[in-house]
Symmetry: C2
Amino acid sequence: MQIELQRGAGRPVYLQIADQIGAAIEARRLAHGARLPAIRDLARRLQVHRDTVALAYEELAAAGRVESSVGRGTFVRAPGDPGPGGAPFEAAFSGLTESLLRFERARPRFGSADGAVPLHAIIPDPALYPVEGFRRALNRAFREHGADLLLYGDPQGHPRLREALASHLGGAGLEVGPGELLLCHGASQGISLALRLFAEPGDLIALEEPTYNNVLATVFGLGLRTAPVPMGEDGPDLAALERTLRRPEVKLLYTIPTFHNPMGLTTSLGHRRALLEVAARCGKPVVEDAYEMDLRFGERPVPPLAGLDASGLVVHLSSFSKSLFPGVRVGAIAARGRALDALLALKRATDHSDSMLLQAALARFLEEGHYERHLARLRRVLRSRCEALTGALEDALPEGARFTRPAGGYQVWVELPAGLDTSELLADAARAGVLFAPGSQFNHDGRPSCALRLSFAMADEAALRRGAQALARVVRERQRAAPAARIHI
Amino acid sequence: MQIELQRGAGRPVYLQIADQIGAAIEARRLAHGARLPAIRDLARRLQVHRDTVALAYEELAAAGRVESSVGRGTFVRAPGDPGPGGAPFEAAFSGLTESLLRFERARPRFGSADGAVPLHAIIPDPALYPVEGFRRALNRAFREHGADLLLYGDPQGHPRLREALASHLGGAGLEVGPGELLLCHGASQGISLALRLFAEPGDLIALEEPTYNNVLATVFGLGLRTAPVPMGEDGPDLAALERTLRRPEVKLLYTIPTFHNPMGLTTSLGHRRALLEVAARCGKPVVEDAYEMDLRFGERPVPPLAGLDASGLVVHLSSFSKSLFPGVRVGAIAARGRALDALLALKRATDHSDSMLLQAALARFLEEGHYERHLARLRRVLRSRCEALTGALEDALPEGARFTRPAGGYQVWVELPAGLDTSELLADAARAGVLFAPGSQFNHDGRPSCALRLSFAMADEAALRRGAQALARVVRERQRAAPAARIHI
């Protein structure tokens, strides 16, 4: 059989491979029981990374077309064939679970790149965690309150932490009372709860494109569908947003106005006011993900959407995962009135309540001023890392490449000259010593992208410069190479 | 207008009140702007608890029929009337959220009964928590691993805790490897994940009736529907179960075979084998909730369903919330192969991962033998409390009442003579000095029940005897009183 790959065709390469092998099985050009080429061999002949072929085979296995046997290879499966291991029970998963698994299979894998500069993930640098200060706060809280912190907690969250957080949010332009906050298990749980509040399976969610890839996993896992709103130079395109929000089946807008993930953009005050007007005209709520809001490099934050909204249109999500450390597992939802009551019911029905011990420790950490001191230091470090990365990109990237200059947070968005699919650069980049997040995983449909996200969370200045230079080398090499492949297997 | 209540009619009293007021509004017998009677007055005239009337008014408010204004009262609302506070933004919630809120509104309230013996809730007694031992384990784990415990964790759960738990489960008759465990945020999160694995909105779940009330909240919040399987003397009726599981729209069985909640029953080995055969014949997976499994009073546990199943039919849920303390927020799912992978994807898409700090502390607590020592002590205390409660019930309850004698766990199920609706006894019982969980909240449709659940989690032997005697007095008084009410408002 013949496999023909079209790069930049809009369909991911691994799916192109799976499609064509699947069609060959359907047409009996590959017989039942036939063995597929080894992953390594096919990858070499197609000039793609081994992971791409592995993904194609997994896709076929999930569809019941082939089965793998460790050490023997991958074989075309007869319909109804129970496979070599006998007939263990295989319950049918829900369609929502299957669609989530499909999304997960398409994620890039970074496992094999030991020693490469890690610019692919937004994981705060453990070298910067205020471990001792938090440990002392934890010990004091535990000694003082003992067993009270080991009971089921207030499902809304520990009252002292809500007090301390309300005061902190007030300083960032969001006036909110402790009673209007619901603490949750990281902003990721906040996203699930806020989406479920307004939307149910079959409904549409307006999201920026590109957007945070994990929110896409949550959306698909909940049976929701996406309505993409393209990103312009100053945030989501407002005319496109209004057309989208006017559709009755679109239930809300999810947006990241501050240090956008993956783009690193922060929208202006004017854009924020205009966006709120659009949402109010369309009668649709806004879920504002402010997960990096505390990480501004400069002095004055732009007020959050929720701080500009008097009508209760906005549900605001924040988190300590990026500004302190992820392991504290505390995020917060700010909402009003009936929306807060309903979010609380959803939280209770999901996992009842969170750890009061960790929340009480965090409350003390905030009350004693440790959090503000930690933020001041972290912002200085991130600003310096950001300057090192953007400086190196400016020097190294070829003509025609562009990148954003964030005012805070952890990420820079790089657009390479059109025609390059950055997911196809990943393997070469790993070999050259740098990891990045390809733009395709931030597109709603996973289609190829000529952009990529670089995170300066985990690497110091020297490593960031090395990483930028390695990336630039790989891009130049790929620009010189031939873009297409057509082979027989 | 006239309100006529029929007790034992199958429709909760508060809904009967809401129905009849709603019909009067519909028929314009109550004009727009008219003021409803004060809650206190109507409750007295109908001879029901104030909460019952408050629930009826909330039901009408949720349907947009009336609105309340603090200090002024409750008024019939004109269609389209924005209410007294101007026109704040009111986004439409999803239908799933509304159905969850409806369920939550129907829960009984226990707020006003200071000093009553708390037999209503299953909250482990804080006086029995091994606070010092856990604090030392936490400190040692934190000192040893520092910032590593503050990163995003292994979404499957801390490897050392999975090791220690696998060994513990092996001792209880469930042979499972650490790789077959997924730790989660209490068994309550485990329930959500396991239901989502197999079912999606519109699907049916087979559940025992009565069953754990919070699983009903989870089911309704996920847009699932329930298929009740009646409980017999030795667990769910197997003939009814087979009829239910044969229906294609029923996707799984959720069951509590050990120390059933609310009934306190433990099924026999024979019943367990037969149940597994039914599920296998019907090709439907079983979610086994073993949340109290460690709390047996005797020496030899009956093996869990998952321990009797070789084919991967069973997903097994366990928890430290009831056997250690709830605040550690650790539950565990045992599952095999593809089911485990899919549960892991659902967990990641829900809230990424849990606190490694708490899990590492718990691992050490288990490894050092503290957990087994704590269990030995807790079991002795619970056995003694259980004997005190059942002894007092035997002496005090009137002719015709029956109750279960649990082999472990925290709860006893009491069936009063038919014709009594236990939710209507709640207010009198609180005044007489005892709180209990009325049986209606464990019924799938919330219909009245002549049964109730008593928990011996929080009260010592003397208080348990007092509580049982108070309950018996209230039952006798109610048996003497007239059962119906018919009044005009």
